[in-house]
């Protein structure tokens, strides 16, 4: 795995601080959602990304507005980083009329074309052919935009992911495939779902490069993604980046995750991407106690405001239950 020091894409102090803000915001958003589910205020559809935030931040940081993302179900933070406000995102989770889908569906099952966000269905991996289609149009128009297509190691076993990576490889499409290998597809550990150690090796079968990296290291993720993006923008085709990580919560907030050991969870919690990064920032004198407090205060305020916005938002009107089916 590339070490944290080997980066060639330079980040300014402000950019490093901004990365920390996003990590904190996304962590806080998911932590609040978890509480809201237990309180019965958000009913379902919550797939926590806690423990995996470095992938979201490392991949989305520095994307252009007209680059496209096609995230997996757990990557709520990608929507925030691409420009959806925390309030609208919270309203989406609350199934309110002000949410992205106006209450029709929850979580990431909606999208925002003008922000370059594609929202997938619940069929994991089904986003990747769509991502390839978006990338095909970039190629046709000779634009230097890219598409980030995310899937878990579980969805890596779907036909869609295979078909999409093959198609993207054939046409050298500007797609970066991000595999978030969080060890479990719902309850199934990876060793029971594939006979290889690294999903990344599958890239060779599609004619492009694959790399397995430490997905809990936001800078490693950023460097790998920027490298892949540079190749894609230059017309050199797709890359597969497998980010090794771990899901702290269950598959959804309703899953107690009894199928794994406390020791395993504790081991992965010791690799929490947030303190890893703050330690790094402190060592480089990028982070002070004052700034940390400022970021945490801002994050708390933004999450509070998002919840207030969602709770103050109206429920959808029953007359909208069967509208917007046809253009």
């Amino acid at each position: 795995m590339p070490s944290i020091k080997r980066h060639k894409f330079k980040l300014t102090t402000e950019q490093l601080q901004e990365m920390l803000y996003w990590l904190k915001l996304i962590r806080a958003f998911d932590e609040r959602l978890s509480i809201l589910v237990r309180q019965g205020r958000v009913r379902s559809g919550v797939y926590s990304s806690i423990g995996q935030e470095a992938i979201v931040v490392g991949t989305c940081f520095g994307l252009q507005k007209d680059d496209y993302i096609a995230p997996l179900h757990r990557d709520l933070g990608t929507f925030l980083m691409k420009g959806v406000s925390p309030g609208v995102m919270m309203a989406q989770m609350y199934a309110r009329a002000t949410g992205l889908s106006k209450g029709r569906d929850s979580a990431l099952h909606s999208g925002v074309p003008e922000l370059g966000i594609f929202g997938n269905t619940s069929m994991l991996g089904a986003n990747t052919p769509v991502a390839a289609g978006i990338a095909l149009t970039y190629k046709l128009e000779q634009r230097d935009n890219v598409v980030l297509a995310y899937f878990g190691e579980g969805a890596a076993n779907t036909g869609d992911v295979h078909e999409a990576m093959n198609f993207a490889g054939v046409h050298k499409l500007p797609v970066v495939f991000i595999c978030e290998n969080n060890v479990y597809s719902y309850s199934m550990p990876i060793e029971k779902s594939m006979a290889i150690e690294d999903v990344a090796v599958r890239a060779e079968g599609y004619g492009f490069d694959g790399v397995a990296i430490n997905g809990n290291d936001v800078l490693a993720v950023y460097q790998a993604t920027q490298g892949a993006i540079a190749r894609a923008r230059a017309g050199d085709g797709p890359t597969l980046i497998e980010c090794k990580t771990y899901r702290w919560h269950g598959h959804s907030e309703h899953d107690p995750a009894f199928y794994r050991s406390d020791e395993e969870l504790a081991m992965w919690k010791s690799r929490d991407p947030l303190p890893t990064f703050t330690t790094y920032l402190r060592a480089r004198d990028v982070l002070t106690d004052e700034l940390l407090l400022e970021i945490e205060t801002r994050v708390r305020r933004e999450i509070d405001e998002a919840v207030a916005f969602a709770e103050d938002s109206p429920h959808p009107d029953p007359s909208e239950a069967a509208t917007d089916l046809y253009a």
Binding site: L100, G119, S122
Partner: protein, 327 residues
């Protein structure tokens, strides 16, 4: 000016004219490029419009549809060819879960203008996997439109309408009609609006509702019965979703008797839906129960003898109409 051309040539003409008219229209599918399609429908388009507007794809139906959805999100109007309608099952998820739901779950902020062309139907020695009639699966799914032309005129006009429609449209072209159906087709921009049935033959005694290749034996049966003094009004639905209730109701008001003929199997075929709607909304005008002549609930066998036993034909339709008239 209308000339006599074959059904398959009318489809190609619609594709060619729409591609020339709108640079965002492109064709993709298996063997559609250099080879010109398994049935020759796309012949010449690769040479005229280039590799990426007549795109050969791997055998990846799900990816073909997913790529189409992705391209549609960037303003394109892809026309995806399923080599055989039977293979549409391999792209089923991308049609019913991805394309059909997109607008609804995006809160009405996008549309999904894709066309999926599927060569369907039997009586071509195709056996189990080259003969199927999948229309009910898609008629059953909100968010999709389904059309099934029976004449060259409609084949061209409905495909143009489908390409210009902002919704996903399943375009079912019947293989039996490719060369056998010849007739007048207007040169240039004649659109057949989606949702409008055509009265193929007027008559005051029985209303016969049909579509696709079954229009031929239906008209033959009507001609035979006319010699016995029974006047059958033959309605060709042309669009299966949304089907033209007004046209069926208007005819039924005149005849008070309804027969539905389709090549799809009986159980939950379109005839079941039409019959149920008639029960709910037009029960008082009926002089006899709604009757159906359909494929039995069976697969399509390869043996000519077996297939002919299953297929509806003029004899079976004449027999049903006699029973209906005598009721």
């Amino acid at each position: 000016m209308a000339r006599e051309i074959a059904y398959m040539d009318a489809i190609r003409e619609a594709l060619r004219e729409e591609m020339a008219r709108d640079p965002h229209v492109f064709v993709l599918g298996e063997d559609v490029g250099v080879y010109g399609g398994a049935f020759g429908i796309t012949k010449g388009l690769y040479e005229e419009f280039g590799e990426y507007r007549c795109l050969d794809t791997p055998i990846s139906e799900s990816c073909i549809i997913g790529v189409s959805v992705g391209a549609s999100l960037r303003g394109y109007r892809p026309v995806a060819e399923m080599q055989f309608g039977d293979f549409i099952t391999c792209g089923f998820d991308q049609i019913v879960n991805q394309a059909a739901t997109l607008r609804y779950r995006y809160g009405g902020r996008v549309s999904c203008p894709i066309v999926v062309r599927a060569p369907v139907g039997g009586n071509v020695a195709g056996g189990l996997y080259h003969s199927q009639n999948p229309e009910s699966w898609f008629v059953h799914r909100p968010g999709l439109k389904v059309v099934a032309p029976s004449t060259p005129w409609d084949a061209k006009g409905l495909l143009k309408a489908a390409i210009r429609d902002d919704n996903p449209v399943i375009y079912l072209e019947h293989k039996y009609l490719y060369r056998r159906a010849k007739g007048p087709v207007p040169e240039g921009d004649e659109i057949v609006p989606i949702g409008q049935a055509a009265v193929r033959r007027e008559g005051g005694d029985i209303t016969l509702v049909t579509y696709g290749a079954m229009a031929l034996p239906s008209l033959e049966a009507a001609d035979r019965l006319a010699k016995e003094g029974v006047e059958v009004e033959v309605i060709d639905l042309r669009t299966l979703s949304p089907w033209d209730k007004a046209a069926v109701f208007a005819s039924l008001d005149k005849t008070n008797r309804l027969l539905v003929v389709h090549e799809d199997v009986k159980t939950l075929g379109l005839g079941a839906e039409i019959s149920a709607v008639i029960m709910e909304e037009k029960f008082d005008v009926l002089d006899a129960p709604v009757m159906r002549v359909t494929y039995p609930d069976s697969h399509c066998p390869f043996s000519h003898v077996l297939e002919q036993a299953n297929l509806p034909n003029a004899d079976k339709i004449v027999d049903a109409i006699r029973r209906l008239a005598a009721y």
